[in-house]
C-alpha cells in the first residue's frame, strides 16, 4: 500500500519537473550582463594579485645574484693550532690572519702543557708563529716552515684549501 502511494508521489513530481519553464526573451542578456559586471569588479583584485608574483620574481633574481647556496670566499672554517710547551707560562698565536697581534689569539693550555686555539681562516696561505712567554719565537713543528723569513726568527705557513684559495 505504501509502495503504491510513493510511486504516485514520484510520478507527480516528475510530471511537474517535465513542464516547460517559461522564460522571457531577455533572460540570457541579463545573465550575461551580470557576469560581465562581476568580472569588471574583480579586475582590480587581479592587479593587486600581481604584487606577490613581482616580489617572488625579485626575490628569485636576488637569490640568483647572491647565490647564498654556493660556498663563498668569505666563509671561514675553523682551523686549530696546537703547540706542546709544558713549561710555558703563556703562548700566543700570531700571523697574517690576526695582524701579528698577540692579544688577538691567546692560546689555552691543558694540564699536559698542550696549548691550543681555534681561528677561523678563509682559503689562502698564511705565515704564522708561536710567541712563548712573550719573548721566545717558535715555529709550528706540524706545519711547513716559511722559507721566506726576513726577520731571523722561525715562522710556519698554513695553506687553507677551499673556494677562493
Amino acid at each position: 500500500m505504501f509502495e503504491h502511494a510513493d510511486s504516485e508521489i514520484i510520478e507527480r513530481v516528475i510530471r511537474q519537473l517535465r513542464k516547460p519553464v517559461a522564460m522571457d526573451s531577455g533572460f540570457d542578456a541579463r545573465v550575461m550582463r551580470e557576469i560581465a559586471a562581476d568580472t569588471e569588479v574583480s579586475r582590480p583584485r587581479l592587479r593587486l594579485g600581481r604584487w606577490p608574483w613581482l616580489a617572488a620574481a625579485a626575490l628569485f633574481a636576488a637569490l640568483l645574484i647572491a647565490h647564498p647556496w654556493s660556498q663563498r670566499a668569505d666563509v671561514r672554517p675553523d682551523y686549530q693550532f696546537v703547540l706542546v710547551a709544558p713549561n710555558a707560562a703563556s703562548v700566543a698565536l700570531v700571523g697574517d690572519f690576526n695582524d701579528w697581534n698577540p692579544a688577538r689569539s691567546p692560546m689555552r693550555a691543558t694540564r699536559a702543557g698542550i696549548w691550543a686555539t681555534v681561528v677561523p681562516l678563509a682559503p689562502g696561505r698564511y705565515h704564522y708563529a708561536f710567541l712563548v712567554n712573550g719573548v721566545e719565537w717558535r715555529r709550528d713543528p706540524a706545519a711547513p716552515a716559511a722559507l721566506d723569513d726576513d726577520f731571523g726568527s722561525p715562522s710556519s705557513v698554513v695553506t687553507v684549501v677551499g673556494k677562493g684559495s
Binding site: V94, G124, R125, P144, D148, D150, G164
Partner: protein, 200 residues
C-alpha cells in the same frame, strides 16, 4: 679644457682619499714614523701598479712584532713588493692575491718564473694550493726541480685536496726516513697509478 681640469681634480681627490685611507689604517700606528713613511711609500707604489697591499702590511707588522729595525722592515716590504711583481709577471695580470703570495713562496723556494708560467698553462683553476705545495715540499728538503716536476705532472687533473694529500704523504715518508727526492718520486708514481688503475 674645463672637463680636463675637472677630470684631473677628480683623479686627485680619488688618489688623496686612497692615501688618506692608508694613513687612517690604525695598523700603521704600530710602525715608528720613519718606518711608516717608507713602508707607506712602498705600499702606495704597489697599489699604483695594481699589486696586493695586504701582504706588504702584514710583513711590516711581522717585523715590528719581531723587533726588527726600520731598515730591515722596509727592505723586507720592498723585497716582497718586487717578488709580488715577478710572480704577477709569470702568473698573469688576472692572478689573485693568494696566488701571488703563493707564487712568491714558490719563487723564494727556488722555482723559476718559467715554472710558474707553466703551471698557469697546465692548471685551469686557482694555483694557490699547487704553488704552496711546491714551496712546502722544497721546505721539507725536496729538491726544487723534483718538487716542480711533481706538481707540474699533477697540476692538470689533481684537485687542491689531492695536492695537499700528496704533500702530506711525501712529508710522512720523509719523517720515516725516506730521502726527500725519492719520497716525492715514489708518491708521484703511486698517485699516477691510482689515477690510471688499468695500467700494470
Amino acid at each position: 679644457m674645463r672637463s680636463l681640469a675637472a677630470c684631473l681634480g677628480l683623479m686627485g681627490c680619488v688618489l688623496l682619499s686612497v692615501r688618506s685611507a692608508a694613513a687612517q689604517d690604525p695598523r700603521y700606528q704600530r710602525l715608528d714614523p720613519d718606518t711608516r713613511a717608507h713602508v707607506s711609500a712602498v705600499i702606495d707604489s704597489a697599489r699604483t701598479v695594481g699589486l696586493p697591499t695586504e701582504p706588504l702590511i702584514q710583513r711590516a707588522l711581522e717585523g715590528v712584532l719581531k723587533g726588527a729595525g726600520s731598515d730591515r722592515i722596509v727592505a723586507a716590504v720592498r723585497r716582497l713588493a718586487v717578488d709580488l711583481g715577478v710572480a704577477r709577471s709569470a702568473l698573469g695580470s688576472g692572478a689573485s692575491s693568494a696566488e701571488l703570495e703563493a707564487g712568491v713562496a714558490a719563487l723564494r723556494a727556488g722555482a723559476t718564473p718559467t715554472v710558474l708560467a707553466q703551471l698557469r698553462e697546465h692548471r685551469h683553476q686557482s694555483l694557490t694550493v699547487a704553488l704552496a705545495v711546491l714551496a712546502d715540499l722544497a721546505a721539507r728538503g725536496v729538491p726544487v726541480d723534483s718538487a716542480a716536476a711533481a706538481v707540474l705532472v699533477l697540476a692538470p687533473t689533481a684537485r687542491d685536496a689531492d695536492l695537499v694529500e700528496f704533500r702530506r704523504a711525501v712529508e710522512r715518508d720523509i719523517a720515516l726516513g725516506a730521502p726527500p727526492a725519492a719520497a716525492t718520486s715514489v708518491r708521484l708514481d703511486a698517485t699516477a697509478r691510482a689515477a690510471a688503475p688499468g695500467r700494470p
